[in-house]
């Protein structure tokens, strides 16, 4: 499991280099071929014994974050979100600015707020990053417009749970790396794709089809739990601790019936707990893959996590292990290939 290291690396959409380098160094020797494509997707190939089919496994390397849009006269920075970041999670946080600089998202002291201001959510218009500079000139020497900004959270494990940033989708990346570590050769070819720019509109995965022509695709995601205390159980998307999440449909795509069925049968056969994603909000690269080229039957397996797209999300380590177990069995059994070719 590489979740700790992966979680702590900055890699906002469009700036995935550090994540890609980390993964590449660790998988290179275990695969037959490795390449980085025009958009920056990292693709690893494990040739099959018979090479009679192509299974594509996908996880995205990027995380949501921020970008500097303006340097203000007082030396603070204005910024906009890269991907979906609720501005309400930002006040009072430390952030990483560019490669290795630090900043904070401050907020007007509660004493200075008028009563109507207290209940007004923060917005990108009024939030600023402070780096200790007192003038625009001082700031411009250190920061440029367009600089990426990422959350800054140390990974921790306690009580069977992990906390950290970017679990969406470093969780999926870590599972793909675990599968590569098994160093198995299957009958069919397996393509491992660590893709860029998922959080800004499922972009990196768009160029995979033309390069790889897979017969079937399986997307490994980290998905929202939504099992917060004030939310009635019937509205939960998933529940932490109940095992890997299997998606039947999400925005713009209904999972391929055969793939969906194989995932469930595999879980049942091997006694792996699993749950359905009960909400169809949000999309994954499965939707993009299915509508590129001639299309491909695709499915989605996710690790549930609470409070994703914030600086601090929570994952259950049992869910991680069971997700790995399910993916491993699906690939080993190979039934997924038989179903789509038959």
């Amino acid at each position: 499991m590489y979740l700790k290291e992966l979680s702590e690396i900055p890699g906002v959409s469009g700036d995935e280099d550090k994540v890609r380098n980390f993964i590449r160094e660790r998988i290179e020797s275990k695969l037959d071929e490795i390449r980085i494509d025009r958009m920056g997707n990292l693709i690893g190939i494990k040739k099959g014994k018979k090479s009679d089919g192509r299974l594509l496994l996908v996880a995205h390397m990027d995380e949501v974050g921020l970008m500097v849009t303006k340097i203000n006269d007082d030396g603070t920075l204005s910024f906009a979100p890269v991907g979906g970041v609720d501005p309400r999670v930002l006040p009072g946080k430390k952030v990483r600015v560019g490669e290795d600089k630090l900043g904070i998202v401050g907020y007007k002291a509660i004493h200075l707020q008028k009563s109507e201001e207290i209940k007004k959510p923060p917005s990108y218009e009024n939030l600023r990053i402070y780096m200790g500079f007192s003038s625009k000139k001082e700031a411009e020497e250190e920061v440029e417009i367009g600089t990426y900004v990422s959350f800054l959270t140390k990974y921790t494990e306690e009580n069977g749970r992990a906390t950290g940033k970017a679990f969406d989708d470093r969780g999926g990346c870590s599972i793909l790396m675990d599968i590569i570590d098994l160093n198995e050769r299957y009958d069919f070819d397996v393509y491992f794709a660590f893709v860029v720019q998922e959080e800004v509109g499922l972009r990196g995965s768009a160029i995979l089809m033309e390069q790889l022509h897979p017969d079937v695709a399986l997307v490994l995601e980290t998905t929202t739990a939504g099992d917060n205390p004030e939310i009635p159980e019937y509205q939960w998307a998933t529940h932490l601790g109940d095992g890997p999440v299997i998606t039947f449909a999400h925005r713009g795509y209904v999972a391929d019936k055969r793939v969906f069925q194989v995932l469930i049968e595999t879980a049942v056969k091997h006694g792996i707990p699993f749950q359905m994603k009960r909400r169809t909000a949000g999309g994954t690269d499965a939707g993009r893959l299915a509508r590129r080229g001639r299309g491909v039957p695709a499915g989605v397996i996710s690790i549930p996590a609470r409070y994703i797209h914030s600086p601090l999300s929570i994952m259950d380590l049992g869910d991680y292990r069971n997700t790995f177990e399910l993916v491993k069995r699906v690939v080993e059994d190979g039934k997924i290939m038989e179903e789509v070719s038959g």
């Binding site: 430390k94 630090l102 004493h111 909400r279 929570i314």
Partner: protein
């Protein structure tokens, strides 16, 4: 072993000591000051007095509160979620997606203040700030989840950092003040003073509590200087802005003694200390308000350290302001003529 101002600020910021729960901060400060004072004693209400004997004339007290804002667990739901009540003023906007530390009877444990991911939010959710009746702590990430009880103290976690020479961290309101008192005690060792000087590290300021006034009474002080923090780089439009790095802020208004105030301004000028002025037309919102009307009355002064983003986990102070405040305090007790 004297710590540098910067290190002292960071060490003090790391300590969790919300109002009524000041022991760890007080114990740390006691270690720092025990060799700098003639008498060190704990107060009845959880504070600390460090006395430096002078000529035995008047008694001057210098106050800084050690407590910080925080929370208390008010309800536990579904075994692994809890609700919070604030201790002092904590903006609900600065707590989401943060880690908290909960002090249970079996030891500290972790929690996360969660927020529904954007994917599942309704459009109307985005337009509102969750208040404390909606904010929840996810206790499932701590090994002592079962030990958490209603009444346990909670603080937002956050390690201090340095940003371009400034120190950023929680609880710098008023550990910055505490630091300037300790630094002033170090400086005072080079001088003799006519007066008995008491450095008082007091409790429960953030809840408007009794920590400072009771000590002022016990010591029967003639003069009191309260050292606290004030808002830097952000002021209502009709107020002069106070700058980070602009030096100590000398307050003036009804809660401050007019003559003492004048003398402090003179002392600052004579010693080349850069200072800023702050009008206090009503209550000052510090311990000064209570200390002034203690016993037969105390002649008070308020000196504040500029601080940005007050009551957030990322309060900012400039160590220069802390050092200059220390210098001013020492000169006041050495140079004051009455």
């Amino acid at each position: 072993m004297n710590l540098e101002t910067k290190d002292l600020l960071m060490e003090l910021s790391r300590i969790d000591a919300p109002s009524g729960f000041e022991k760890e901060a007080i114990d740390f400060i006691e270690k720092q000051v025990k060799d700098l004072a003639d008498v060190v004693k704990k107060t009845r209400l959880g504070g600390l007095i460090a006395g430096v004997k002078g000529g035995g004339g008047l008694k001057i007290g210098i106050f800084a509160h050690v407590d910080e804002i925080g929370f208390v667990i008010s309800k536990i739901e579904d075994e692994s979620f809890a609700r919070l009540e604030t201790v002092g003023g904590v903006d609900p906007k600065v707590v989401l997606a943060s880690e908290v530390k909960i002090y249970t009877r079996d030891g500290p444990t972790r929690g996360v203040v969660g927020l529904l991911a954007p994917h599942l939010q309704k459009p109307e959710d985005r337009k509102k700030v969750p208040m404390y009746d909606e904010i929840f702590v996810d206790l499932s990430v701590g090994s002592l989840v079962k030990s958490v009880r209603v009444g346990d103290r909670v603080v937002l976690r956050g390690d201090p950092i340095e940003l371009n020479g400034k120190i950023v961290g929680k609880a710098l309101d008023n550990r910055a003040g505490c630091t300037s008192l300790i630094k002033s005690m170090e400086l005072l060792r080079k001088y003799r003073t006519l007066y008995d000087v008491y450095y008082i590290f007091s409790s429960q300021e953030e809840v408007g509590g009794p920590g400072a006034a009771t000590v002022a009474y016990e010591l029967n002080l003639d003069y009191a200087i309260v050292v606290d923090v004030t808002h830097a780089d952000d002021a209502p439009p009709f107020y002069e802005k106070i700058s980070l790095g602009g030096g100590p802020v000398i307050g003036f208004g009804p809660s401050v003694d007019k003559d003492f105030w004048k003398k402090i301004m003179d002392i600052a000028k004579r010693n080349g200390i850069k200072y800023q002025k702050e009008p206090l037309p009503g209550r000052s919102g510090t311990d000064t308000d209570e200390v002034q009307m203690t016993g037969i009355g105390v002649r008070t002064a308020l000196i504040s350290i500029p601080l940005k983003y007050m009551h957030t986990p990322v309060e900012v102070v400039d160590p220069f302001d802390v050092d200059e405040t220390a210098r001013l305090l020492t000169h006041i007790v050495v140079d004051l003529e009455v």
